[in-house]
């Protein structure tokens, strides 16, 4: 091995050693710093993706129109495309109006945010939102939609934040079951292959006898999640050796998130 290679290997080892000494605080700072640097790429990438999706859906409808109406004039196609654009705008207005209504009638103080990126790794379920420290976001703040809870904040940079979804095994939420005195801890599964992941509600009593469809809410125990946020509904219940466990279907479709709210407290 040449001298250059040995020096390169030593430098590599030294840098590696430096990183391996990072504790949780340093790691968090390092992660926040990198997210801060890459924030413009995430927000820019999100906009680009939207444009590409819009163009693709436009081309699809154009293909269909060509197939079905071969004799239509070019002007007619343009009008249809414009109409489609207006419908998209109308849908977006309706969606935002719906979100705004929720914010006004909610008992929680909420900060509206948009998903700019989804998880890129196999073993962690996260999304990135376009709100950060500048907007008053802090670590451990719950994140919800108008339907229910979706997760909590784990990393905050100035302009973007990372949300750990409730479908992740590490996101544990103290929960209670509607119509019973049962309380437990909801967490995701380590490996999910379906588009709609199921959650586990653990540490229930063996006599719980929960019925499918019973709603599961945050209990407020632990202080991270305020009580009363809907998590999902019971799918199945089974008795284990030491406790009872329910499988819960999340109320929010986690694979199609667009607009979310960060819960900053109660009104």
């Amino acid at each position: 091995m040449s001298r250059t290679n040995i020096i390169a290997l030593l430098i590599f080892g030294a840098i590696l050693g430096y990183f391996l000494t990072f504790g949780p605080t340093t790691t968090q700072k390092f992660k926040t710093g990198v997210y801060q640097l890459l924030a413009p790429f995430f927000t820019g990438g999100s906009g680009l993706k939207k444009q590409l999706t819009s163009v693709r859906s436009g081309l699809k409808s154009l293909d269909q129109l060509e197939h079905e109406n071969a004799n239509l004039q070019v002007e007619n196609r343009e009008l249809r495309a414009t109409n489609q654009g207006l419908r998209d705008a109308e849908n977006e207005v309706n969606r935002l109006r719906h979100a705004l209504n929720y914010r006004e009638r909610s008992v929680f103080k909420l900060i509206a945010a948009e998903i700019v990126a989804r998880d890129s790794s196999t073993w962690w379920r996260t999304v990135t939102i376009n709100r950060g420290r500048r907007d008053g976001i802090e670590i451990d703040m719950p994140v919800a939609t108008d339907e229910g809870l979706i997760g909590k904040i784990t990393t905050v940079s100035d302009s973007i934040s990372v949300v750990l979804l409730i479908s992740d095994e590490n996101c544990r939420v103290a929960a209670k079951v509607e119509g019973s005195r049962e309380q437990g801890i909801v967490s995701g599964e380590r490996v999910t292959t379906g588009l709609t992941p199921l959650l586990n509600l653990n540490f229930l009593s063996k006599q719980a006898d929960l019925k499918p469809g019973q709603k599961v809410y945050t209990s407020g125990v632990g202080g991270v999640f305020p009580s009363g946020l809907l998590i999902g509904s019971v799918k199945t219940f089974r008795v284990r050796e030491l406790d009872g466990q329910a499988q819960v279907t999340p109320v929010v479709d986690l694979s199609h998130l667009e607009d979310v709210f960060v819960v900053t407290g109660r009104k």
Partner: protein
């Protein structure tokens, strides 16, 4: 040297692009990883010191963007991805003479295998931290899926990078005790 910086830039772009590429529902929600394929190409095309630099850069990015700090605990230590990339890229670098002779097939297959090894290593680390050793069919597919996708992507990515190498007038000849 220009080619090396192009590879660095491509690693950065690919790492960010991975956030916008949806998982493949028909392959057990396997994720698409482009960065390892670029890094492993760099491992074959670049001299040893630059190969280590590329592995270091990719590892730092992967650590920063995927490692989660939850409740004051880190599941995978910062630096672990650097180590994994360094070792695997080093192994790939050993096959450089074969690559220099224009034989790519082994490297394409190994790019897939090594991508799966990265995912497997992450899984083993989180399993060690979280406890309860789970190894069912789904886990294996989540590990194998990204590797299969990487293997399928490798020839196209390699061809593209080879083209960039030509455009930047990069020489693929193994170094003789010098960087460039």
């Amino acid at each position: 040297m220009i080619f090396f910086f192009v590879l660095l830039l491509l690693v950065l772009i690919a790492q960010i692009a991975e956030f916008f590429i949806p998982a493949l529902p028909w392959l057990y929600n396997a994720h698409v990883y482009i960065v390892p394929v670029i890094v492993f190409y760099g491992a074959m095309a670049l001299p040893f010191p630059l190969m280590l630099s590329l592995a270091l850069f990719a590892g730092v990015l992967l650590d920063a963007l995927t490692v989660q700090v939850i409740g004051g605990k880190v599941e995978i230590s910062a630096g672990s991805s650097i180590l994994i990339y360094g070792v695997l890229a080093g192994l790939m670098h050993g096959l450089r003479p074969l690559f220099a002779r224009g034989r790519w097939e082994v490297h394409c297959v190994l790019s897939g295998v090594f991508t799966s090894l990265i995912v497997l290593a992450q899984y083993l680390m989180i399993t060690f931290r979280r406890g309860s050793f789970v190894f069912n069919r789904e886990v294996w597919w989540q590990v194998a899926g990204p590797g299969l996708v990487a293997m399928a992507m490798a020839p196209i990515v390699f061809w593209f990078l080879q083209w960039i190498g030509r455009v930047t007038a990069y020489s693929y000849q193994p170094e003789r005790g010098r960087i460039e």
